[in-house]
Symmetry: C2
Subunit: 383 residues, 2 copies
């Protein structure tokens, strides 16, 4: 095994050393002054990152539990819910809604396609509305970023609530919770927010709070009201993962110090540099070649390479961990995450490793151009 | 504020430096060889601590979510469930079961009383059985430890399933999952298991697996089967809190290196030392003065002391964090946790601080005897 590791998956992502150092401090009690000010600061910083005036609920849980909280707090069995999906994580929305007994209208696009708000408008009109629409901002399995703003407008027009999976996108690309009227936005600590996995974050609009009071699905741990009341008195409803909250607070401080806009710009440039490098060596993108694809770049595995063996080789010999294709894309694509604590030299490391491993596996590549192309793209094409 | 901190609450508990150091290493991917062997080792060590042959499910969540998983996987709306409660955490079982639409038979004891298995047998006979019985092994709010083995025998006799909250007790006092026929035992990383908060663990008996297939409550994140299938292939169902799993694995290694019996013995002696010290200074125990009370010692606040102010004083001036009374005991008792990474000198620090702060607050105390008494008790009365 290579000794030095390079984590380049779309979550968990690398974490700044300041975050790791803060997490190594002795454990503090969650209801003590050693924790409460950090807790409040972290919650306030989350509001800034979410661009919302409302309280962002913080759960000790994986992102999926945050998604489940949306269904559990907004629906009752039999409610009609529209799921817009074009990949692995869109499917998860549908699975959760089905488990909760919702009547699921599943708008399923081909994996890699970009869902269109017009289609949603047509479907909502056809079925006479819905309780909620569930969408994925950045579909991590394909790299496609949906126009959440347009989806929200169409959803509001139809009088429904919109739930947004922004787990891999929040902090990487714009997500204007209040301005776009997003009713519930779910994210996680381990993606663009540069902290370890273990926390899920959930925003709730005024309309969503009202809907919650009517929704009858059972929920205890994920009940929004229980967590809101507790957060307002800084008295966590349940013992939170204090170490990770402390780490997340440091990470959010680093992000906000430079500002969210700088983070968005950096992600656009990282995505561009990655795609240009990939194309320069003659590989084919699976993700759209657009500035919006700033979270993860999916690439088709070239002939005659075995996609699974290639990733093992890259990881075991070179220490570089990329992500495989998921579901029907398994073995057919590989994915480079470029979210969070990521610099252009992480992109060039990924490209250099990919070039070497694919060439050794017999792929017909343009050698020696990808790294320089990525560097030039990053430097010379500021947003 | 005092600069040096002493965390003496019954959770979160202090964590060994080896655990913190392991958690400060760079983040690894949960589906990579950097994590999978650790994950398997941690899951195997959990089985040892649980004393079970079955897989222990590992959730990224607070302990309460583990409790909720028992209700969500074992019951359908309308099912009869008996809750045996004698404190804050017993009440939580009842709240969860009510949220899930169960018909709750609540056997409520006074806070501080020890529930009796005979009472449960009588009640089960009277109501003609139940789907499940939910009990708390160590009621952290009072320090009372229930005889879970006896409760299980009575429950099995009545053909019901038993769910056990062992969040603060697992690893501190005996809990023989398989031998006692406990159907589901819930614990958490942040108590006797000596890791930071963020993980909940859940065992499932064969009978509980069968019951799960019939139970109709909705569940996705907390669905046992989804996590079991994923763990068997070491392919976590959802991104776990990798840092905390790594920390927990180190902590479990430390516990098992000396053996569980040594941990049990140490906790008995710590509890004894704490209670003898408390009595020596003339204070009154709220917890039973028995060897089973090895997890937390609850003490009545003496006249004329203000219990809330006393704890603030202890914490702010001396850096010692104890736990307050919960619910009806707020202001009337204080609690000293002695679980996990705890030594007799932690007990003597707690006693010394308590003695000083109470004396300054005007309590009539025997000065200068508690520390020595605790040390003598710890040394000279091995189990």
């Amino acid at each position: 095994m290579a000794e030095k590791r390079y984590l380049m998956t779309p979550g968990p992502t690398p974490v700044p050393p300041e975050v790791l150092a803060a997490m190594a401090l002795p454990i503090v009690h969650h209801r003590s002054p050693d924790f409460r000010p950090t807790y409040r600061q972290c919650l306030d910083r989350l509001k800034e990152v979410y661009r919302t005036q409302g309280e962002v609920l913080l759960y000790t849980a994986s992102g999926t539990a945050g998604l489940e909280s949306v269904v559990a707090n907004l629906t009752s069995p039999g409610d009609r819910v529209v799921v817009v999906s074009a990949g692995y994580f869109g499917e998860r929305w549908a699975q959760i809604a089905e488990v909760y007994g919702c009547e699921v209208e599943h708008m399923r696009y081909e994996w890699g396609e970009a869902p269109a708000a017009d289609d949603l408008a047509a479907r909502l009109s056809e079925i006479g509305g819905a309780t909620a629409v569930l969408v994925t901002q950045s579909e991590t399995s394909t790299g496609v970023v949906a126009d959440v703003r347009a989806f929200a407008a169409v959803t509001k027009e139809a009088g429904a609530l919109i739930g947004v999976d922004a787990i891999s996108s929040l902090g990487a690309i714009p997500c204007e919770t209040d301005e776009w009227s997003l009713d519930s936005v779910v994210s996680g600590s381990q993606k663009a927010l540069m902290a370890p996995p273990g926390l899920s974050t959930v925003s709730v609009s005024d309309a969503a709070w009202k809907a919650r009071d009517r929704a009858s699905a059972p929920r205890f741990y994920l009940d929004w009201e229980r967590t809101r009341v507790a957060q307002e008195s800084l008295d966590a409803a349940f013992t939170p993962a204090v170490s990770i909250v402390i780490g997340l607070n440091v990470a959010l401080g680093l992000i906000l110090e430079k500002g969210l806009e700088a983070a968005f710009e950096r992600h656009v440039r990282l995505g561009r540099a990655c795609r240009e490098g990939i194309k320069a060596m003659g590989l084919e993108l699976f993700s759209p070649d657009e500035d919006t694809s700033a979270v993860v770049t999916a690439v088709r595995v070239p002939e005659p390479v075995d996609g699974t063996q290639f990733l093992l080789d890259l990881r075991d010999r070179m220490g570089i961990t990329l992500a495989p294709g998921q579901g029907p894309l398994k073995g057919k694509v590989f994915r480079i995450g470029h979210i969070g604590f990521f610099d252009v030299f992480d992109i060039t490391t990924a490209l250099a490793g990919i070039e070497l491993a694919l060439a050794e596996a017999g792929a017909d590549l343009e050698r020696g151009v990808a790294v320089t192309r990525a560097l030039e793209t990053y430097e010379h094409q500021p947003v």
